[in-house]
């Protein structure tokens, strides 16, 4: 039997605590599109009930990293991922993992709102239906209402639930897509520039929503807006040319970053 020193035990415990803190852990993640390498050994941890912002100049691999987290890259021909990514300490790229289940746990919202060409109600009921989360009409009604409430959209659309989701404004559509993701009951929500197609007012609403969602979900958001990153996130990760440059508390990142490149980017000196 091993006898550990007091200090070692302390350290191990702390390690364990912080592991539990990490919802998703990326180790040496590299991504190749055919011959082209888009990510270079990225090590990034995503903390539970935290909003993590991914920033960096265009083409640096933010979306690519984000999409490794729920294996959306699987749908791209010729895309290969190496390294490991875990969700609650289980490898998401493991043979035994059902990607359908993974995506139910790690939802995603896209840059352009992409509601299905169905009614608002059916857009939200889609996920619960394919995962068998609701059976009766009453169940569905409840899920739909709850998700819309959480996405802050219910009052705006409650009288037109059976009208097409594509008839909403851009900002409403994006919140509909967030509601749609929420309806499946995910643990993590990935957002790829969710506000880039929205006007300032709609953006403010979505940002407010992200802020609230943090209590129930773990959120990773890609954004080009420094202000947005500063407003909504607690942790920020800076990418450059496929490398993770720095990952830090958002406050520190925007006031006193460790890396010169982060400083330059935030000051608008490149990108």
């Amino acid at each position: 039997m091993n006898i550990m020193s007091e200090a070692a035990v302390e350290k191990a415990l702390e390690q364990k605590m912080s592991d539990a803190h990490f919802k998703m852990v990326g180790k040496d993640v590299s991504v190749y599109y055919g011959e082209k390498r888009a990510l270079f050994d990225v090590n990034l941890n995503v903390r539970k009930n935290t909003v993590t912002a991914l920033i960096g100049p265009s083409g640096c691999g933010k979306s690519t990293f984000l999409r490794t987290l729920n294996r959306m890259n699987d749908t791209i021909e010729g895309c290969r991922v190496t390294g490991s990514i875990t969700l609650d300490n289980a490898d998401v790229y493991d043979q035994s993992v059902d990607v359908v289940e993974l995506r139910a746990r790690v939802g995603m919202v896209f840059q352009k709102p992409n509601p299905f060409p169905k009614s608002i109600y059916e857009n939200i009921a889609y996920g619960p239906r394919i995962h068998g989360l609701a059976r009766s009409k009453a169940d569905f009604d409840e899920v739909v209402e709850n998700s819309l409430q959480k996405a802050g959209l219910f009052n705006e659309v409650k009288d037109r639930l059976h009208e097409p989701g594509t008839g909403l404004s851009g900002g409403q559509q994006q919140r509909l897509c967030i509601a749609r993701a929420i309806a499946v009951g995910p643990e993590v929500i990935l957002m790829d520039e969710p506000c880039s197609a929205l006007d300032p007012i709609a953006t403010a609403k979505v940002e407010e929503l992200i802020h609230e969602l943090r209590t129930n979900f773990t959120i990773v958001i890609v954004t080009h807006s420094m202000q947005q990153a500063a407003r909504v996130s607690q942790r920020t990760a800076m990418f450059h040319l496929g490398n993770l440059v720095e990952e830090n508390d958002t406050d520190k990142m925007f006031t006193n970053p460790d890396d010169q490149r982060t400083q330059d980017y935030i000051m608008g000196r490149f990108g």
Partner: protein, 456 residues
């Protein structure tokens, strides 16, 4: 003669293009005020004024001259007031034959006089048209030349002419369609004056074998369209049962599952299927499929006839697969990638995504393809003439022989028969029915598509 006239017209327009632009350039050089149109527009405008009115006169002459001349010839033919339309047209055709030099027997003096009259009228008419066209050309060229000036808005004028021309082009198709319909309706009305509409529409027997000439012995004949329509629907139904699932599934496979190389080979091959002449399909149906169907029927203990609805329908189904697969393929491929990703991101499988998102979004295109295929099937002639039967029978047994509207039209019009005989006229009534049926199918489909359209 007309050929030379047209060439002259074209040349004159071409010359006026150059003359007009040269003059416009000359007036614009050294003009103090700003000029409105570039010289080429002045040239084109002059060319249009020179060519178009003259060309319209020429077209009117081309369309109208022969019937006017006919009228005049007949009117001056002795005793023509007492003749009926058929006799008149007989005389006219004889006169024209003689005038063209095809003489079978010595013409009567009256005919000879009429021939001389015809020839002089034709001469007069061709001189007249040359004069009219030349005058129109000259006046047009003069006006078009004179109007050239810095302030004349030649560009607007040319563009207006082009607009009219495009409008005219779009009218051509409509007018032609109207003409086709009206000729169908006209003949069909003649038919309905001999056979009551109700009997035609609701009659359950189709036996058009009536006496063609007075000395023939034949039955009374029955003109009930129901069995023929029924046969059409049975065969088209079989074709759709073959083609719709095959076409849609192959489109889904090609867009969603197959790798690029497979798609690159199979898609063009499928489209080649659409280019195979239907006669070839007919051979295939008669020589290969029909015997196979027959032996299948016999082995099942069903008395299969050598010409079966199943054989014709199945081959027709193969023929229309490309319409469905190709249009569905386009429709599926044009559903944005964002729709797929949205669905996958919610944890949907490929199958669920296809069934619940892609197919509904692509529905209008798919229905369009199915509909195009269906109207092809309903109107298809060659395969059924060769492989289906001739006897109109009300049956849904696919091993039995049935007949279709198109087959009946063909058989009714083959052989020597008069055009005022119910048997021949029945073909037009059938044609009208076919037209109406496909029209209704199209309307239904348009409405369905509009109603269930899921816009992305």
């Amino acid at each position: 003669m007309s050929g030379y006239l047209l060439i002259t017209l074209a040349l004159a327009a071409l010359v006026m293009t150059f003359v007009g632009s040269a003059r416009a350039r000359a007036t614009q050089n050294g003009a103090s005020e700003k000029t409105h149109s570039r010289p080429i527009y002045h040239g084109l405008n002059a060319a249009i004024w020179t060519g178009v009115p003259a060309f319209i006169f020429f077209l009117l002459w081309l369309v109208g001259q022969s019937s006017v001349i006919n009228q005049l010839v007949i009117a001056s033919f002795p005793g023509s007031e007492s003749l009926d339309a058929t006799a008149k047209s007989l005389i006219l055709s004889e006169v024209r034959q003689v005038a063209a030099g095809n003489i079978f027997k010595e013409p009567t003096p009256e005919i000879q006089a009429a021939v001389a009259h015809l020839k002089s009228l034709q001469q007069l008419s061709s001189v007249a048209i040359i004069a009219v066209v030349a005058a129109a050309m000259a006046i047009g060229a003069f006006l078009g030349y004179r109007v050239i000036g810095n302030r004349f808005r030649a560009r607007h004028s040319v563009e207006r002419s082009v607009t009219y021309f495009m409008m005219f082009s779009s009218l051509v198709a409509i007018v032609t369609t109207l003409g086709i319909i009206s000729s169908l309706v006209f003949e069909a009305i003649q038919f309905f004056s001999k056979v009551p509409v109700t009997e035609f529409l609701f009659g359950l027997r189709w036996e058009p074998q009536i006496a063609i000439r007075a000395d023939q012995v034949a039955g009374q004949g029955a003109f009930g369209v129901i069995p023929v329509l029924f046969g059409t629907f049975v065969i088209s139904g079989i074709a759709m049962i073959v083609a719709v699932p095959t076409g849609i599934l192959s489109a889904i496979y090609l867009t969603e599952y197959s790798d690029k190389r497979f798609r690159a080979v199979v898609k063009p091959l499928l489209e080649i299927l659409a280019g195979v002449p239907t006669v070839v399909y007919g051979f295939f149906a008669v020589l290969t499929v029909a015997p196979a169907v027959r032996s299948l029927g016999l082995s099942l203990g069903i008395d299969a006839s050598p010409n079966s609805a199943l054989a014709a329908g199945a081959v027709m189904g193969v023929m229309i697969i490309p319409f469905i697969s190709s249009l569905s393929d386009d429709a599926l491929a044009s559903v944005p990638r964002a729709m797929r990703e949205g669905s996958y991101a919610l944890g949907a499988t490929k199958g669920e995504t296809i069934r619940k998102v892609l197919l509904p979004a692509a529905l209008p295109g798919i229905v369009g393809g199915v509909l195009l295929a269906l109207s092809r099937a309903v109107g298809e002639t060659m395969i059924v003439v060769m492989a289906a039967g001739l006897i109109a029978k009300m049956t849904v047994n696919p091993f039995d022989a049935v007949t279709t509207v198109t087959v009946q039209i063909v058989t009714l019009l083959i052989g020597d028969s008069e055009f005022d005989n119910p048997k021949t006229l029945a073909a037009f009534a059938l044609g009208l029915i076919l037209f109406i049926v496909t029209l209704i199918l199209n309307l239904i489909a348009l409405r369905t598509v509009r109603k269930y359209r899921e816009k992305y």
